[in-house]
């Protein structure tokens, strides 16, 4: 069997492991290990890779944002801050069907504006939002699906690590890419809110509705959330103002919410210990998936499956729009098995020159930017499409009582919204490009 065949066979093998309830990180790790073993004929290579890989993944500076923001989420809950936040949101939106879920999407978008990672956005926001959504009568699958989708806003709304890597690989201007990503990012948030309102109309029992609250009380609830807003402003302002890195922002947020929780009595030795063990549980789960994905992706890169797949599509000689569609579909498929960064690193060097050679009636720079934004979006859609989607797994694990199937069912509404958006952006490049003019 050639390396390429081994790489292709690893897809069904990985799916089988996952469907047999093997934890996601473990499944990817095992597929990567076995794949390298079969490819090389011995275990020397995967064993050698493991000398540093686990340490290097766990010590990744950009990822250290995850445990810090998770801890911040626990402190915010302990100090009554997330309840206050949702109370405020509910006062304004609770009388609408799906209002609180929309508030959660809005919060994800706000968080996405400061954070460059969709897994971190999804995990952090679900720590804060899942208990609240439950309190307001939202069913489990709908809540987890909402946060999994909302998490992708972490990458869609700039700043975004994926766009920085794309800019480097394709020699495009980072500032222009960030600017171009803005409108599609906002469209994503709006599209998700539309998905919420459709979902709650199709499934009326899935979300609670309250009586409207008088205006004066609505604003009074806003006053209660000032400490949260203060911390939030410090974090967002600091990151945007270039005073600190996102990871440093997470530390500021954790310390800030910790102090507030301590002052208003929510933080005691008992609850501090609980926060530590819950942070430990979620962080280890996420990092183990990250490790498994890194290992599996290293194997896939070596088999050259992503590279060969890309070259094959390129060789079909189709019309420009069909080539573009085929590329986007490939990203959706690869999105089941790979993380966003690995996908981009392996495929963009092959796809990019091809797309640039096609005529879409745009200037070269506009084609490059438009294609970058489209890739950014489909890569993120891959994270929430069933059956394999990193965000789905992570959020579902944070809500142990919710069956995976109900998350799958609900997330289809968000995937549909994503597809509509991609079609719109492909049909009307101006949506992406008009800010650059």
């Amino acid at each position: 069997m050639s390396n390429l065949e081994i790489g292709i066979w690893s897809f069904p093998a990985l799916l089988l492991l996952i469907f047999l309830r093997v934890p996601i990180g473990l499944a990817m790790f095992s597929a990567g290990f076995a794949g390298m073993w079969v490819t090389m004929g011995n275990t020397r290579l995967p064993m050698a890779q493991l000398k540093d890989l686990a340490y290097s993944q766990f010590s990744n500076y950009s990822l250290s944002i995850v445990p810090m923001f998770l801890l911040m989420g626990y402190f915010a809950t302990l100090g009554g801050m997330s309840q206050a936040l949702f109370k405020a949101a509910e006062n304004f939106l609770g009388h609408r069907k799906g209002g609180v879920a929309m508030a959660a999407i809005g919060a994800c978008a706000g968080f996405g504006a400061i954070c460059g990672s969709s897994l971190a956005t999804a995990a952090t926001m679900s720590r804060v939002s899942l208990p609240e959504l439950k309190r307001y009568g939202y069913d489990g699958g709908f809540s987890t699906a909402t946060l999994a989708a909302g998490g992708t806003l972490g990458i869609l709304i700039p700043p975004s690590v994926v766009l920085v890597i794309y800019a480097i690989l394709t020699e495009q201007n980072i500032a222009k890419l960030f600017l171009a990503a803005f409108v599609p990012g906002v469209l994503a948030a709006i599209g998700y809110m539309v998905a919420v309102s459709i979902y709650v109309r199709v499934h009326p029992a899935s979300a609670g509705v309250r009586e409207p609250v008088p205006m004066r009380e609505r604003f009074r609830a806003l006053i209660d959330v000032w400490p949260v807003l203060l911390v939030f402003l410090a974090v967002v302002g600091g990151i945007y103002g270039g005073i600190f890195t996102p990871t440093e922002g997470a530390a500021v947020g954790a310390l800030g919410t910790g102090i507030i929780a301590l002052v208003n009595g929510g933080l005691t030795w008992r609850t501090l210990l609980d926060s530590f063990s819950d942070t430990a549980r979620s962080s280890a789960m996420i990092f183990f998936i990250v490790l498994g994905a890194a290992f599996y992706n290293a194997f896939l890169a070596r088999t050259r499956v992503p590279q060969e797949l890309s070259e094959w599509v390129v060789g079909l000689g189709m019309t420009p729009i069909a080539v573009l569609a085929a590329i986007l579909v490939i990203y959706l498929i690869l999105g089941c098995f790979m993380d966003s960064l690995s996908m981009i690193l392996l495929t963009i060097p092959i796809f990019f020159p091809v797309v640039m050679a096609l005529d879409f009636g745009l200037t070269a720079e506009h084609t490059a930017i438009w294609f970058g934004i489209l890739v950014l979006i489909v890569v993120e859609v891959g994270l929430i499409t069933p059956p394999v989607g990193m965000n789905l797994f992570v959020i579902n694990a944070m809500s142990p009582e919710t069956p995976m199937v109900s998350t799958y069912r609900a997330v289809l509404y968000y995937v549909a919204s994503d597809i509509v958006r991609v079609v719109l952006l492909v049909a009307f490049p101006a949506i992406t490009l008009f800010l650059l003019a």
Partner: protein
């Protein structure tokens, strides 16, 4: 092909070093072997891990060949640091020649005993790229500047900057988020990591370079030994002093076009004259020499002798030694 070798590095595929040095070398090896060797290239750390792990990847055979910055793994290859000392190197070809000579004599069976080294070279003059103009050491006070090696960070500390250590690929993200006020790198790699778009000020030094970093192109030892003798010879013929001079020279020559990118963007490029460098910068960074010699002595290496030899070798370099690929 009879033998497929993997080559890994940390830069994007279209950057200067991959295109003008690594691909040229790999293509020549493929051609010289009559197609019996094929070299698969994995840019941007596509096989996973971070740039500082490259040398371990080669040592363990995770990849067969790897290109890396020696300074990313401080403490492991101490002798190479002689070329990183401030105002030590004038010409990248001469320094790469000296580096390759000293490698043959002293480093082959010491620092680099665990790998087969194909080439050893330095980049063109290292310099500052910052969000504020820098002409004197005092201008750097409190600025967060990225340095790529132990000695560069020492230099940054002594001129009053706040050094932040990170590999090149992390620089653009950090500059775009305001985490850094600037970075030290040679011109050549600036377009690949978007530096001219992210900062507007560049400070060059007339005369000797503020600093240089050292590189190695390394091959897994067992993999090399496993090759048949004629293929070993293909590798050997494209290794050592001539290839190192080519690599260092080519990389330094790429500084010019890269500088033009910043010129075209209308950026502010300033030059510290040799007189100012000697009067204002040298006194501040001179103590690095003493502390480095002390460090080397502690490791049982005669630092002063190494400095003298490097200077001697650099002065004996002549352009007719630049023969590889010609």
């Amino acid at each position: 092909a009879e033998v497929t070798l993997t080559l890994e590095h940390f830069l994007p595929p279209q950057a200067n070093v991959p295109v003008q040095v690594l691909d040229v070398w790999a293509d020549k090896v493929e051609a010289d072997s009559g197609g019996r060797i094929e070299i698969e290239r994995y840019p941007s750390m596509q096989l996973g891990g971070a740039p500082p792990e490259l040398i371990d990847h080669v040592q363990d055979g995770i990849v067969d060949i790897g290109w890396t910055v020696v300074g990313y793994t401080p403490g492991r290859f101490p002798r190479t640091e002689v070329f990183e000392l401030p105002f030590m190197v004038k010409d990248a070809r001469a320094a790469s020649y000296a580096y390759a000579k000293i490698f043959e004599e002293q480093m082959k069976d010491a620092d680099f005993k665990d790998v087969k080294i194909v080439g050893t070279w330095v980049h063109g003059p290292g310099m500052f790229h910052t969000n504020k103009p820098v002409m004197q050491p005092g201008d750097l006070q409190g600025m967060k500047i990225r340095g790529g090696s132990r000695l560069v960070n020492d230099l940054l500390t002594r001129v009053g900057a706040e050094p932040i250590g990170m590999p090149v690929p992390a620089v653009s993200e950090a500059l775009s988020k305001g985490v850094l006020d600037g970075t030290t790198i040679p011109w050549e790699v600036t377009p690949a990591v978007k530096v001219p778009e992210l900062v507007r000020n560049h400070t060059e030094f007339e005369g000797p370079a503020l600093y240089t970093l050292t590189f190695v192109l390394a091959m897994n030892k067992d993999r090399y030994e496993s090759l048949p003798d004629d293929l070993k010879r293909v590798i050997d013929d494209n290794s050592g002093v001539p290839f190192s001079i080519f690599a260092g020279g080519t990389q330094a020559d790429a500084d010019g076009p890269a500088r033009q990118v910043a010129v075209d963007l209308g950026n502010d490029i300033k030059t510290v004259s040799q007189a100012d460098a000697e009067a204002q910068w040298m006194p501040v960074v001179q103590p690095i020499y003493e502390s480095w010699i002390a460090d080397m002595n502690a490791k049982g290496i005669d630092g002063q002798a190494l400095i003298d030899e490097a200077k001697q070798l650099m002065s004996e370099y002549t352009p007719d030694m630049d023969t590889w690929g010609k």
